[in-house]
Symmetry: D2
Subunit: 309 residues, 4 copies
């Protein structure tokens, strides 16, 4: 249960079977940093090429294919005072003919007040004035190495996680990934100080982060898609296009979870989900879109949980 402080010296714009930067044990905690989506660090200097550069990978001892890696997001926080965002809704999020009406995208700047926990719009000058929003720091892109020795760009996502850009990935959440390679190979990056559903301007408020996470290996536990939980919900994540397919992946994974760990057959699971399920739109911008299938823990109270995820 050691705590490792790790200062990155290089980054990856693919998630894959790269040389580990650190070996850690089951139960260990890592305290590190991430650069922003364009490769800028806590001093706002470009230190690596853009494209959601990842810190890591971290090799988790004992994690093998067929296991599940639990990644607890202990602490996520911006570590500088300036963030940036897109200013025009992405072309794929509006009616095709309406694209002609959209202006060109430029970057907005936000002043991040870490003491007050707010972000304030500095530029461009619009009728919004100095719009101020509460911070809700989240990780946009993170995950484990995919199967087959693949190395996949950090613009997209899949069973391994990746660029899911889901604003539910905040401090306090546990995320479960299917382990595909020995050591799992944890990658983290792409912090957002704030983000709406869907990441519809193509960005959150992008910023460098302090990140602390803790890993746990769940042996001989096979899952297909990322899962997670917070105080109120268990949830599953589907990454695909169109959104319909992302919903299919997430919902199927939830049915498997309820069957395997809560002893529900598909009639019970369907009847429960039908009247209580909630869905979040993670992102509708990246090559793979993300939908999250959520079940409130309150409706699960009393059902026998037979397994750890």
């Amino acid at each position: 249960m050691a705590t490792h402080r790790f200062t990155p010296t290089h980054y990856h714009t693919t998630i894959g079977s790269h040389e580990p930067v650190l070996h850690i044990a089951d139960g260990d905690t890592v305290i590190t940093t991430t650069v922003d989506a364009r490769g800028k660090d806590a001093t706002n200097q470009v230190v690596t090429p853009r494209g959601n550069p990842q810190t890591g990978p971290f090799y988790v001892e004992g994690a093998e294919p067929g296991d599940t890696l639990a990644l607890h997001l202990d602490h996520l926080a911006p570590n500088r005072d300036i963030g940036w965002s897109g200013t025009v809704i992405a072309a794929n999020v509006v009616d095709p003919e309406f694209v002609r009406s959209l202006p060109e995208n430029e970057l907005a700047e936000w002043r991040i007040d870490r003491a007050r926990n707010t972000g304030t719009l500095i530029s461009p000058k619009t009728s919004l004035g100095e719009l101020t929003l509460p911070l809700a720091p989240m990780l946009g892109c993170f995950g484990v190495a995919p199967v087959l020795g693949q190395a996949i760009n950090t613009g997209t996502s899949g069973e391994w996680g990746g660029n899911m850009d889901y604003r539910g990935f905040v401090s306090g959440v546990t995320v479960y990934f299917p382990v595909a390679v020995p050591g799992a190979l944890v990658h983290v990056g792409d912090g957002h100080a704030v983000q709406g559903d869907g990441e519809i301007v193509g960005t959150g408020i992008e910023i460098s982060f302090d990140v602390q996470f803790t890993v746990r290996v769940i042996k001989n536990k096979k899952i297909t898609w990322p899962r997670g939980e917070n105080g109120e919900y268990i949830f599953t994540v589907g990454n695909a296009r169109p959104l319909d397919q992302a919903v299919q992946h997430a919902t199927t994974e939830m049915l498997r979870w309820l069957q395997a760990d809560y002893g529900m057959d598909y009639v019970a699971a369907s009847t429960l989900l039908g009247q209580t399920v909630e869905y979040d739109l993670g992102n509708i911008f990246d090559p793979a879109y993300t939908m999250v299938c959520k079940l409130p823990k309150r409706v699960l109270a009393g059902y026998n949980k037979t397994s750890s995820c």
Copy 2:
């Protein structure tokens, strides 16, 4: 500002330019009833063929094409003690290969306790036991007559509303529809005592309803897709397949709204939406799926609202 009590004697399974059952004035209130999706009334007797039968249409004096009709849902409540739902997740909501694993759908019965405001699962017998959920009554299918004299089945939805199956259409919400024919021709039906996001078992807890609504005509106000508001949000509704297109419709409509009524250009509107928008999944079961684009009223405080919707 009259209040009309209307007892239906027939129902429609299309939304269209049918003979009005009642003429009402701008500002009037209607108190009526709806049968459930299979045509059963408050006594649980089949009184009309199945398929989301609609009460109405109600002709609103003064409503003309080019206007908007505001429909305030004053009161929605089940008016009997038994509801029913599907028990198997719809085939289109899971991974295609997984469909082979699903059992056949049968109907579940729920006992509705109107005093305690709960629904309790009676059958089938599952590991859920007598699952009890709080009621959250909503209208599944309602709207106004579509353009061109069309009559469109109550299984689907479009610009005119229809079978949106969005669990946000509860008492206290105002829904705005584009008026396409003189009198608007309001139809209401398909009450659900409870429903999860997406209506993924193909039903909510289906039941007959007492319905009270109040209409208001907003002259010379053109909208394209349904809009709405409640205490916390303004929202827009897109109905289409795939979900991606429903998102496009809803988001485009929200941009138009922010421009026309809040004086925001597309940079301001995009910058605001990008970091604060929320989406709800209305339904992912019907021929047209429904996505809802929501903006919290708190982030709009201080912006000049120049128009009524």
Copy 3:
């Protein structure tokens, strides 16, 4: 087996249970005309509002729900010397960001030489010069009244046919529709002198037509989606969005056909289709897209055909 010459005096921009203009018998032939998509007739005068106006409906005696209507397209031919088309690819057919690069659409004019069977581009002036193409006249929008007394706009399509904009609907083809109302109620309109796959500029070369067709009622034959055949292929038609769903409809209908009329179980039908099926893209412009699933008659030679469609 009468032949009726019918001169239309009004048109419909919905396909539905409208008052029939003529009652015809099983086996009868109709010779009539259609206006172009903008309501212009053989003299190039606007005679009715735009939107694929339909000639008809024609009531076929003896056709009842549960039957199939065979509509043989005996003869389709432009009946004037000028046609028009769109000049810019529809926004939904290119990458969303690329829409910004597209010019505004204007109408092109084509001179139709009926003697030489060619269309020649007259305007606008482009590097194409006087591009000349062979005519391949087809019907863009036609079908029978849909179920439930619906009246559905002629911009879209479904099980009833409608605006399929498939360039395979040429003279000599037989199209099969599911009969949904007594008399079937045949509508015809929207002739194209030429069209590429997909109708990707939103039009073919639009023009008024002489149309001759012959009907046949196949009693107690239920089909779900339109089917057809020509000298080389049997085919099925799926209308939906996205294209994936149109493929699903068409392919499922073909499996049903091979099972019911060629005595193939799903293993035989799949094994055959897997290595010999062809698909055409009907349209990717209208609200419902169209995909056509085709099986060459040569690979069916020798299999017992047990029924007429």
Copy 4:
């Protein structure tokens, strides 16, 4: 312009920046072999793990990012006498509810008669009897290394090519790929003796191949998606889900091609494509679907071709 005979000793189930097996020059020809999708060679022995194993990669001297690689498929031919295919239409290709009706997939065997150029169904026994089809050998999965040092599994496809499963990739075709890494790194595999459109049973008639191809480097020619040509057509390839997006990629690439190499502005290109374009469905089975946008060379006769692809 050397000819290299290369016998593979290992294979890859990702397409990526792997160690080259051979360096070849611009203009060179390679004669080699590929194993079938399950890793079986010309003797029908498993020699490598399944999953469209690739022969290569071949490093093409002089190919640099920003160039285009022209890959001419000189000769593709099965090199053994037995092939196999799926026997049940893939679940994603039929209506979701219809999946319940499908039997389980098993493998069919086909006897390949290379002298007569036919494939004959041997098992299972169905009403098809000994169905015999003419061979039409094509490459299912091939391409060049993708950008960013990615290694991507051979089940899917993208800008780099990959598992496009398009039955148009036959002997005599030239395919153009965007070069993303030095040497391009050509991979070839997954031969099909026969395949219908869409690869709807998840396979063609899968078999090991003799493959001969010739490479040419087109310097400083940037393309985005694969392109190709045969005697009758130029074509572009889009790989994505849903099919709609594959059409968007392919059509956008065709517009760029007509503009850059045929001097057509978007009005000219659109007007021409609108009335003459054809689309093929490559595959609707793999994670990324494939649509091909084709323009007949006959309609391009007379337009100035200013560049080589």
